[in-house]
């Protein structure tokens, strides 16, 4: 009884709070402050067609480093917690059911296409919506599909760890290169490479390189998390 009363009071409280927020929203007809600066300067200064990318990768590159670190720590935490338990108690290899024929055939057909789409997303990060994180997540979902279709499927841990570490290190190195070449406010500056022609795939300086590194890192990290989760 008292539990339900408490829940109801909490609900009313939340409603009041959210209504306060909602009633204060006014639709803005134009950009203001820093967002206007980003929108106006992004295309001409950095040569990116997608403004979100120019903000995520260059203007707020340091925040992206934080984001990458959070994901890295999460993946490491999962690996440490779940791998140790696996070593303690030997894996029980119970007879598992094979996945269905439809799933197996569908996976064989779709996996290359999904991986290609993921790569497309992060290579075109400066031109179209999406980027390293989204592309990486799509690649990880392809690996997930492989796990689902074949219960004995194993990923190459050594290779995945090497890819993950190298892309992380190169990401930070490119970031520091920006600091060295353009001054203290320019962590992760894409102008270390020529900007190229606006709207083509090899444009926007180092952004395709940076996003490929981020995509590989995120993809391998999420795939390792899934792999650790899956193991018994």
């Amino acid at each position: 009884m008292i539990k339900k009363l408490f829940a109801a009071v909490l609900l009313v409280f939340m409603t009041v709070m959210l209504y306060q927020l909602y009633s204060n929203i006014t639709e803005k007809s134009e950009l203001s402050g820093v967002s206007r600066g980003y929108a106006e300067r992004g295309a001409s200064e950095l040569g990116t067609q997608n403004i979100v990318t120019s903000i995520v990768v260059t203007y707020r590159g340091l925040d992206t480093l934080g984001e990458v670190s959070v994901l890295f720590i999460a993946a490491t935490g999962v690996a440490v917690l779940l791998r140790r338990r696996k070593e303690d108690e030997p894996a029980v290899t119970a007879a598992k059911r094979q996945s269905s024929e439809i799933l197996q055939t569908g996976t064989r057909l779709l996996t290359p296409i999904i991986i290609m789409f993921g790569v497309y997303i992060f290579i075109n990060g400066h031109l179209s919506p999406g980027g390293g994180f989204q592309g990486g997540a799509v690649i990880a979902s392809a690996v997930l599909l492989l796990f689902l279709s074949d219960i004995n499927y194993k990923i190459n841990h050594g290779l995945f760890n090497v890819i993950e570490s190298f892309s992380g290190v190169f990401y930070v190195l490119i970031g520091i290169l920006g600091l060295l070449l353009f001054g203290v406010n320019n962590f992760l500056d894409n102008r270390i490479l020529p900007l190229g022609e606006f709207g083509t795939i090899l444009s926007a300086g180092a952004i395709p390189v940076i996003y490929s590194l981020v995509g590989l890192k995120v993809g391998t990290e999420l795939a390792s998390i899934i792999d650790n989760m899956k193991k018994d």
């Binding site: 997608n50 979100v52 997303i121 919506p129 999406g130 980027g131 994180f133 989204q134 997540a137 799509v138 990880a140 979902s141 997930l144 999420l222 998390i225 899934i226 989760m229 899956k230 018994d232």
Partner: protein
């Protein structure tokens, strides 16, 4: 424009409905799927509100990966339950 508002409101209602469903349903697997559906509708709303970058992240991580991680976790806890019986 009006049609789009209607669609967004419908999606929002569907989100609330599947969220309630996730709590009410007895079967845990259905519950996890309902949570995934909430993310899926959220990603469509993001797309309609002109935020394709966020929509992609939500669809891939919210609807795809996290749902499956929940399913794996559920599978593991079920195994443990059977061992205890």
């Amino acid at each position: 424009m009006e049609l789009q508002h209607g669609i967004i409101i419908l999606m929002g209602l569907a989100m609330i409905l599947s969220a309630i469903l996730a709590m009410v349903v007895k079967d845990l697997i259905s519950s996890v799927v309902a949570v995934g559906v909430v993310s899926l509708f959220a990603s469509i709303i993001y797309l309609l509100l002109q935020a394709p970058d966020v929509a992609m992240t939500e669809a891939a991580i919210g609807a795809g990966l996290s749902t499956l991680i929940f399913l794996y976790a559920l599978h593991k806890t079920k195994d443990a339950e059977e061992e205890n019986d």
